[in-house]
Every structure is written in structure tokens, then in C-alpha cells.
Symmetry: C2
DNA sequence: ACACAAAACGCAACAACGTTGCAAATTAAT
DNA sequence: ATTAATTTGCAACGTTGTTGCGTTTTGTGT
């Protein structure tokens, strides 16, 4: 049915398997970001724990998803936009973590502002995490 | 000898014990941030693993240190400046993680720029992580 | 459609990280 | 100095993440 999912996998040089299809669909169906744990709960024992780890690893390497560091020591993952692939991310947006519902979302429209580092420091990557209360919880 | 350490503990309503004194001195003697693991290595079995966890927890709650989220899922801690205590941090500086030597430092002079969130989102805390090559490694 | 090579999967075992309960030791207060 | 409150170490446990290996599935070439 969902041809789109399979094509997305193939486009990223990933062989199509039941696990990958399912996990990718979790991301597509989901507004925010997912942690390893979220996926396991959604899959409900359908796949081995190791498979989920390896799938996320593969998605990361191919640039299908990007990781979001969080203060509570649980890495989350979110789908990348079309134009970032092969590990090269255009991942310059702010991530928002809601302290009420716990969801993590990409604020695609909020760009991380440029900063000036002290002499001698070379910048390679920047992450910006904002926590607070999200739109839905604030409703 | 080191009266200063003891006073700093007392000032933060923490009873003075060998473990706390030692761990606090690690932070005072150290330029950058420390992870739980760093501290255990430095202590070299002198204290129980659990004690280190609980000490860090206590320091955090009293506002003696603040935590720094990292992309590799290992939380680090750094001393707070004098004027933040009781859990209320003036923690508005950028954190830098060196990809070469692995050290994490607070760039006290680099302030996190203000950002504008979409309507409905309320900001409570902001973390900014820059990774790259630090001054000493770039030397 | 079939056979074969390559990749992915599940399982088991293991290592690292983090938490909790409780008895013994240490600290602070009277 | 005695006592109450905190802190510590130990043991046990749960979670998270990794590795190796035999089996299954996928992709490819004929």
C-alpha cells in the first residue's frame, strides 16, 4: 500500500524490510521526535531491541533522521527534510522540548542564530535546545 | 587546609563530608566540565559509584553545578558561577565540546542569543551546544 | 523463477549506566 | 558527650546499549 515508504528507503540505499518500513512509518505518522524507547513501545515487541538500535543507526548514517540531544539523557530522533542526505544535514533549526507533555519537535522555521566564538575555537556543529511549554499544552 | 571548599559546601547547605569535599575540589581544579565517569576515574575507587551519583545530584539541587546535555548521551557537569544558587541558574552561556580531545568547556563570555518562538510556545530554558575544535587542540 | 551472495534479523550474552532499600558510619546539633 | 539526622557503602535490581553468531530475508544475476 504505502509505496512512498519503500521508495524513501530505496532512495536512501536501504534494503526494504518489515522492520525498517514500520519504523519509518512511525516517523512519518508522527509530528515530533521519537526516542528509541518510544519506538519500542509503539512496536510492542514486534521487533527485537537490537533491530531497533541497528535500524536507527542505519537511518542516521544515511541521513534519513537526525539526532537531538536532550538534558534528560535520552537521545531523540526526527525525520530530516528532503534535502539532507548522506549524513550531511541542513540541521540548522531549533529543537523544542515540552516540559508538560514531554514531546520534542523541530521548529523548522526557527533558525539557529550565528554566534561568534573566542579566538582559536573552530565551530563544526551547533545544537540549540529550548524547553518550555509547547503550543498544544499551552492551548 | 582548603577551608574554601568547606565554606563553599556550607554556604550551599551541604554537610561537609570527605566525598563531597573531594568531588568539589575536582571541579575547582578543573577548567572544563566533568562527567560522572570522569569523576569516578579521578577518585579511583575511593568512593562508591552510588555516592558519586548522589553527590552530583545534591550539587545540582543546591545549584553548585549545572548539567550540560551532550550529543553522545553522556551528561556533563560544570561549576556554576557565584551568583546562581538554589537551583536558579544564570546559565545563559554557550557550551563547547571539542571533537578532538573530548573536553567540554563553558564559554562564559559567549551569551546565548535571544530567539523568537512561534506563537503558543513558551520558553523556559535554552541550551546551546557548539562542537568543533577547541583552543588548545587548535593551537 | 531460481540459485546465490549479501544484508538484516533474532537470540544470547555481556558491559555500562543508573536507581532503590537498608544497615552501618559519619556529621551536625543540643 | 549523647542523640538525631544525614550520608555512606553494599547488594540487588532495572534499563540502556553493544557484540557475536547462526538463521532468515532481501536483492541480484541468470
Amino acid at each position: 500500500m504505502n509505496k512512498k515508504t519503500d521508495e524513501l528507503l530505496k532512495k536512501n540505499q536501504l534494503s526494504v524490510t518489515a522492520g525498517r518500513r514500520q519504523i519509518l512509518e512511525f516517523f512519518l505518522r508522527q509530528e515530533g521526535a521519537l526516542s528509541h524507547n518510544d519506538i519500542e513501545k509503539k512496536a510492542d515487541g514486534k521487533f527485537d531491541r537490537v533491530t531497533v538500535y541497528r535500524t536507527l543507526q542505519a537511518f542516521l548514517e544515511k541521513g534519513l533522521i537526525h539526532s537531538i540531544p536532550t538534558a534528560d539523557n535520552s537521545i531523540r530522533y526526527a525525520l530530516c527534510k528532503d534535502d539532507c542526505s548522506g549524513g550531511h544535514h541542513h540541521d540548522d533549526h531549533v529543537h523544542f522540548i515540552c516540559n508538560t507533555c514531554g514531546s520534542t519537535v523541530c521548529l523548522e522555521d526557527v533558525t539557529i542564530p550565528a554566534i561568534k566564538l573566542p579566538g582559536g575555537f573552530v565551530k563544526q556543529q551547533v545544537d540549540m535546545l529550548v524547553s518550555g511549554i509547547c503550543k498544544s499544552c499551552n492551548g
